[in-house]
C-alpha cells in the first residue's frame, strides 16, 4: 500500500504548500521569541548580541514560579476533569434527545461562553468569596468551570451525535448502567472528541486571566496572572523577560499537550475501527 501523502494532486500540493508556509512563519514567530528570551540584548541585527538564561532566572525568582506553575497545573487539571465530568453528560442529553425546553437549556449553556467575564466576573467572585471558595484553588477552579463546562458541552455534542445509539442500546441490554455505558462504550468512542474539548478547556483555563485573577488568593495565582502582570504592570521590564515568561508558559502548555497526545491520538481510534483502505 502506497502512502497517501505522496499521491498528490495539484490541490494537494497547494494545501501542503499553504501548510508549509504557515509553519515556516510560525517557526519564525515562535523562534524569534525563543531567541529573544535567551538574548542578552538584541537590537537591529539578525540574532542577539549574546545569550543568557538570566531572564528565566529572574522571572523564576520574582514570581516564585515553581509554586505558580504547580498551582496552574493542578487548577487546570481539575478544571479539565470536572468540566468533562459535568459537561459530557449534559452534552449527551442534548445530542440524543429532543425534549420541551431544549432550546432554552441550550441558550443557558451558550451564554457563559458568549458573555465576557466583565459582565459576571465580579459578582461571581463575590459569590465565591461569600461561600469561602475564592482566595483558594477551589475558587479558581470553580470560576474557571463557568465557561469551561459550556465549552465541553458545545464541543462534545456533535461528537456524541455521531455515535450510533444502537451501540449504547446493546451495552444496556448487556446490563451496563449509565455509568458503565459512559465509561466503557462512549468514552472510548469519544476519545477524539474528549481530547479535543479537554485541550480546548485546558488552553482556555491556563490562559484565563480575568476570572483567575479575581478569585485567586496569594497562594493560588496562576502563570497567566504573572504573565499579564509582567506584561502590563506599570514599571519597567525588559522585553526579554516577558519573552521568557511567555516561553515558559508555552513550554508548560506544550508539555501538557504532548503528554495528552502521547496517550491518545485524536484520529487513531476510528482509523483503527474502520480501516481506510487506501
Amino acid at each position: 500500500m502506497s502512502t497517501r501523502a505522496l499521491k498528490a494532486t495539484p490541490t494537494a500540493w497547494l494545501i501542503w504548500a499553504v501548510v508549509v508556509f504557515f509553519f515556516v512563519n510560525l517557526a519564525g514567530v515562535v523562534g524569534s521569541v525563543l531567541v529573544s528570551s535567551f538574548g542578552r540584548r538584541w537590537f537591529d541585527t539578525w540574532v542577539p548580541d549574546g545569550f543568557t538564561t538570566q531572564w528565566y532566572g529572574d522571572a523564576w525568582h520574582e514570581f516564585g514560579l515553581l509554586q505558580v506553575i504547580s498551582v496552574t497545573l493542578i487548577a487546570s487539571g481539575l478544571v479539565v476533569v470536572l468540566s468533562v465530568l459535568v459537561g459530557a453528560p449534559a452534552a449527551y442529553v442534548l445530542a440524543r434527545q429532543n425534549f420541551p425546553g431544549k432550546r432554552l437549556v441550550y441558550l443557558t449553556f451558550l451564554l457563559p461562553i458568549l458573555m465576557p467575564p466583565i459582565t459576571y466576573g465580579i459578582p461571581l467572585a463575590t459569590v465565591l468569596y461569600k461561600f469561602g471558595f475564592a482566595g483558594h484553588l477551589s475558587g479558581v477552579v470553580l470560576a474557571n468551570l463557568v465557561p469551561s463546562v459550556p465549552f465541553v458541552i458545545l464541543t462534545m455534542t456533535p461528537f456524541i451525535e455521531q455515535v450510533d445509539p444502537k451501540i449504547e442500546s446493546a451495552a444496556r441490554m448487556l446490563g451496563a448502567n449509565t455509568r458503565a455505558v459512559f465509561l466503557r462504550i462512549l468514552a472510548p468512542l469519544l476519545v477524539p472528541g474528549l481530547l479535543a474539548s479537554a485541550i480546548l478547556v485546558l488552553v482556555r483555563t491556563v490562559g484565563m486571566f480575568e476570572l483567575t485573577f479575581l478569585t485567586a488568593g496569594p497562594d493560588s495565582q496562576t502563570l497567566v496572572v504573572a504573565l499579564y502582570y509582567s506584561m502590563s504592570a506599570a514599571g519597567i521590564r525588559a522585553q526579554q523577560s516577558v519573552d521568557a515568561m511567555a516561553v515558559m508558559y508555552t513550554a508548560m502548555m506544550l508539555v501538557l499537550l504532548v503528554v495528552a497526545l502521547r496517550f491518545v491520538n485524536p484520529t487513531q481510534l476510528v482509523a483503527r475501527v474502520k480501516e481506510e483502505p487506501e
Partner: protein, 362 residues
C-alpha cells in the same frame, strides 16, 4: 430479576410521529417458551422487540413480568439479552471483549468470564477471529459475535432480531440447533424475530404473525402453517397462489369456486357466503403436476436444486405456482390437481380489483 413465570404485553404500542409502528400488541409469554415474531419487512417486529427490551419507550400499553410492571424499567434493569438486527457490536472492542462485556458488567470472577467467553466463542466458531475488531470481520462473523454476546449471559429472556440472516444455509442450520439447545438446556425464554418461515416453523413453540404493526395470528407452527386465519397470513406463510375469486356455492365448510374453466372445492376459513368475493390460497407444493385436473401450459421453469419451481397458466389465464420433481419444460402442457383440503378459502376484505393491483395472481 432473573426467572419469571410469565411476561404479559398489554396493548403495547409505539408511534413514530403520526405513524403507528406497533399497535395494540397483546401477548403472554410463558417461561421457557420460544416465540417467533414473523411478518413482512417493516411490519413492526424490531419495534416490538425494542419495546420489550426497554430500548424504545412505549407510547401505549404496558408490560408485566408476573405482577411487576416493567415497561418503566430501564433496559439494564430488565436483565434481558438481545441480538440486534444490525449487530450493534462495540467497534472498539475485540470479538472476545465484545462477548465478555456483559459478563464483566455482572462483575463475575475473571476466571469465569474467561471460561464462559471462550465457550461462547467456540459455540459460534470464531476461535481464529477472537482478537479481531468487528470492523475486520465479515458480515456473518459479526452476526455470530452478536449471538454469542447476547447468549453468553444466559439471560432469563433472550430477544433475537433476525440473528441468522447473514449466515449460509449450513451454518444457519447449525446455529439454529445451537440456539434451540441453549434455549432448552438453560431454560431460557426466547423471542425470536425472523423473516424466514421455515426457521420460525422449525424453532418456535408459538408464532406471532404481524402485519402493519398489528398481530394477525398467534398460534403453534402447525396452526399457522396449515390454517392461517387470514389470507394475509397465508400469503406470508408461503401460499404463493392467492386468487381473488367469487364463491359459487357453500356447503358447510366446503366452498366451490370457479377456476380454469371448471370448478374446484376448498375449505372455508371463517365464514364465507355463496356469491361473495373470496381469496383462495394454496401453496405451490400442494399444486400437483399430474395427468388429470386443471389443464394448462408451463410458462416459467426455475431450477431449485432437487425440485423445479414452475408457473402454469390455466386456460382462463389464471397463473398457478407449482413445485415438482418432474423435469418439465417451458411450453409443455400439463394438468394440475389440488387437494381440496389444502385449498383455503377466505372472505375477501377488499374488492377484487384492488386485490389484483395489490399483486395477487390472476
Amino acid at each position: 430479576m432473573s426467572g419469571f413465570g410469565q411476561l404479559r404485553l398489554e396493548g403495547v404500542g409505539r408511534r413514530f410521529g403520526t405513524a403507528d409502528a406497533l399497535a395494540g400488541l397483546d401477548l403472554t409469554i410463558e417461561r421457557g417458551e420460544f416465540i417467533a415474531l414473523l411478518g413482512p419487512s417493516g411490519c413492526g417486529k424490531s419495534t416490538a422487540l425494542n419495546c420489550l427490551a426497554g430500548l424504545l419507550p412505549l407510547t401505549a400499553g404496558s408490560i408485566w413480568q408476573d405482577d411487576q410492571r416493567i415497561d418503566t424499567l430501564p433496559p439494564e434493569k430488565r436483565g434481558f439479552g438481545m441480538v440486534f438486527q444490525n449487530y450493534a457490536l462495540f467497534p472498539h472492542l475485540t470479538v472476545r471483549d465484545n462477548i465478555a462485556f456483559g459478563l464483566r458488567m455482572r462483575r463475575l470472577p475473571k476466571d469465569e468470564v474467561r471460561r464462559r467467553t471462550t465457550a461462547a466463542i467456540e459455540m459460534v466458531r470464531l476461535e481464529e477471529h477472537a482478537s479481531k475488531l468487528p470492523g475486520q470481520l465479515s458480515g456473518g462473523q459479526q452476526q455470530r459475535v452478536a449471538i454469542a454476546r447476547a447468549t453468553v449471559l444466559e439471560p432469563s429472556l433472550v430477544l433475537m432480531d433476525e440473528p441468522l440472516s447473514n449466515l449460509d444455509a449450513k451454518l444457519r442450520l447449525e446455529m439454529r440447533t445451537e440456539i434451540r439447545r441453549l434455549h432448552q438446556s438453560l431454560g431460557l425464554t426466547t423471542v425470536y424475530v425472523t423473516h424466514d418461515q421455515e426457521e420460525a416453523l422449525s424453532m418456535a413453540d408459538r408464532l406471532v404473525v404481524m402485519r402493519e404493526g398489528r398481530v394477525q395470528q398467534i398460534g403453534t407452527p402447525e396452526e399457522v402453517h396449515t390454517t392461517p386465519t387470514t389470507w394475509h397470513v397465508a400469503d406470508f406463510m408461503g401460499y404463493r397462489n392467492l386468487l381473488p375469486l367469487a364463491a359459487q356455492s357453500v356447503a358447510g365448510e366446503v366452498v366451490t369456486v370457479p377456476i380454469g374453466g371448471t370448478t374446484i372445492d376448498g375449505v372455508a376459513q371463517g365464514t364465507v357466503a355463496a356469491g361473495e368475493d373470496v381469496v383462495v390460497a394454496v401453496r405451490p407444493e400442494d399444486v400437483k403436476l399430474g395427468n388429470e385436473g386443471l389443464k394448462g401450459l408451463v410458462e416459467v421453469v426455475e431450477y431449485q436444486g432437487r425440485e423445479l419451481a414452475v408457473e402454469v397458466v390455466l386456460e382462463d389465464g389464471t397463473r398457478l405456482h407449482a413445485r415438482t420433481e418432474r423435469k418439465v419444460q417451458a411450453g409443455e402442457s400439463v394438468s394440475v390437481a389440488i387437494d381440496p383440503s389444502r385449498l383455503l378459502v377466505y372472505a375477501s376484505d377488499r374488492p377484487a380489483a384492488e386485490l389484483v393491483t395489490a399483486g395477487l395472481a390472476v
